[in-house]
Amino acid sequence: MKWPYENRAGETRRMECDVLVLGGGLAGCYTAIAAARKGQRVILVEKGATERSGAAGSGFDHWESACTNPCSRVTPEEVAQAFIDDKDGYFNGISHYIECREGYDRLLDMETFGGKIRDTQDDFAGAAFRDEKNKFLFAYDYTNRFTLRVWGSTFKPALARECRRLGVTVLDRTEATALLLDRTGAAPCGAGAAAMNTRTGEFLILRAKATVLCMSRPARVWLFHSDLVGLSEFRPTQCIGSGHAMGYRAGLEFVMMEKSVRGEFSAAGRSFPPYSAGNNHNTWYAATMVDARGVDIPYVDRDGRVLKTVDERYRPAPGQKFFLKGGTIDEAAYEVRGPETMDAAALLAQGYQLPFYADLSRMPEMERKVIWGLMVGEEGKTKIPVLKALTDRGFDPEKHRLQSYGSGWQSASFLEQERQLFGAPGGLMNDWDLKTNIDGIYAAGDQLFTGDCCGHAAATGYYAGRKAALRAASLEALPACDEEEAAAEQARLLAPLFRSEGMDWRELNAALAKAMQIYCGGVKNDAFLREGLDLLRTYREDYVPQLSCANPHELMRTHEVLDLLDVCELILNACLLRRAGNTALCFARSDSAEVDPPGDRRFLTLKKEGDRMVSGSCPLDYYGDLKSQYEAHNADYLEEVAHEQA
């Protein structure tokens, strides 16, 4: 069939702005809104369609760490520190403190954009998790009330509308491909980005005074299914870490890229679609679980005390102030460990019989309705593919039990070499302005190291947006754009379109994933890591020049895999840097007997300068005292908020 869109290959469009936002998910939209509110001219570049794009495009069900909401009984300092401690210090104190401090402000923004954050229809009037005055619904810790249940399916369309209302130039179906740098000064600074329209092939040179990276963390690195590509991982097909790749190529500094976890989600492979199997985690917390005989599986608190009521599953243990649950929390540290079903091995030893099931029929009506209908329904990829699909198949939560396939929410057991960047993975290093190591380039959301959760994306996006706006306002002229660099990027981008009968992008992605499983699996050693790098070099030299495609859509996918090639190289190099095993980073070595030596308790950083890898390190608490540092860097924002409240 004839390609239905225009052919603009070889054509170049030039645009200028103050703040350029790369990625139109939650983080990117909030970045654009913050900068536009500061009077800056903003361009937002989105590979998909902003209305529903990003990991939270179809929805999300809970907003973590809204510590400043009027019902909260915890402080931002307490919750941020608890998360840091839970990850043994390998955590982005800055970005998560911003989330704890400003996340609730962004929820209030969302309401003004038209997103639903309150139970305005009184569907849950009288429920234990509802605040009757504010009509907020809370999740997990009903006593301390700092995580809100929200109607996330209403959020992305509202954000896209608000961006347009504020005059943001939204470039949908446009893939950012490279950062442009001004190298005329003493040190390079961000000058914008190159991009490509994924339907026409048009090349764009986007010049800006400040650039904010708001794209996804990498995926499809170890897990790839060439038939059901879109089910390879948890995040959307096109969210594969292009922002990491272009940052790596431009010399941005990364941290914690040696961390990966055993796979949790791959519905093309071992697991089921997230939230569609019986479980009691995250969206499904704290569903009643039963064994094959229909006998209730006990919940226990952190001390092993068996809980007698459903309500107790949502309360801290005696003597415990609060507990943590949510996206990055698997097995929380004792101090903040919440109620959980009894350990599976203990259950089997006591005669409980597999398979287990989620049984919502035995829960109080409000708890059943809020899991099946609100959480499953508003969480990403649940309204149609889970709630509607299972309902259409006849599932009734009052009459049926839903089978569980693994322990916890993962619905499968993966092999140790089947890995993912999940559970607070690595990313870009940042300072208190969410600036990278290159002036004029900022980062938010999943691009930051240990990014996670929608509240984090929104809060860091807005924060980076206002910092980028300040930078843009301080510059009189646009940084210089290197025309030769841009022309070389255009030639690189279009090359696969000029070849025929070459290699398909899937073949290279499959080869990369297999290589990563072999050379960078569950246990690392230098010999294998170096072999892996050598193999990638041959892929780059011998096979990348063979890639071919027939249209701009296939070209977009081809460049995703080329970005993955860079990401794999980054990960292998980061693994080489860490010399001993590290429990918190899920990092094991077969060529070192040492695990967690005290001298290694540091962040190891990595950046590319030309063809050379430059490494560094810094203390885990490099960000200093959270509260005082935040306040020192945000006097302007604190004044604005105080003014609004007055």
């Binding site: 369609a49 005989r293 839903l402 027939a550």
Partner: protein, 96 residues
């Protein structure tokens, strides 16, 4: 720079994620426009359902169905292997 020719070609896969009911679909292309993965192309025949050129890239988010103005015109179906099992409640007397 010379211009390469573009060609649209279906890349088949083992599943059929999106199913249109041509009697209900009015070909408004709302589904196509909200799809962040861009798995569909507009049908050359005006008013007819979009064409699913890249079914294997679908990530099963359901945004297309949410955007569809005509209920039943478009449905999303997970691959058979991903349809989780559920069972009826047992007799309470037996512990269920």
């Amino acid at each position: 720079m010379s211009k390469p020719e573009y060609e649209a070609r279906v890349i088949p896969c083992s599943a059929r994620p999106l199913r249109f009911d041509a009697t209900k679909c009015v070909g408004c292309n709302r589904c196509l426009e909200v799809c962040q993965v861009d798995v569909m192309l507009p049908n050359p025949q005006k008013g007819a359902p979009p064409l699913v050129f890249y079914p294997g890239e679908c990530y099963y988010c359901g945004s297309c169905v949410m955007a569809c103005p005509n209920p039943g015109a478009l449905s999303l179906v997970h691959p058979l292997m991903n349809q989780t099992k559920f069972i009826p409640m047992k007799d309470p007397a037996q512990g269920g």
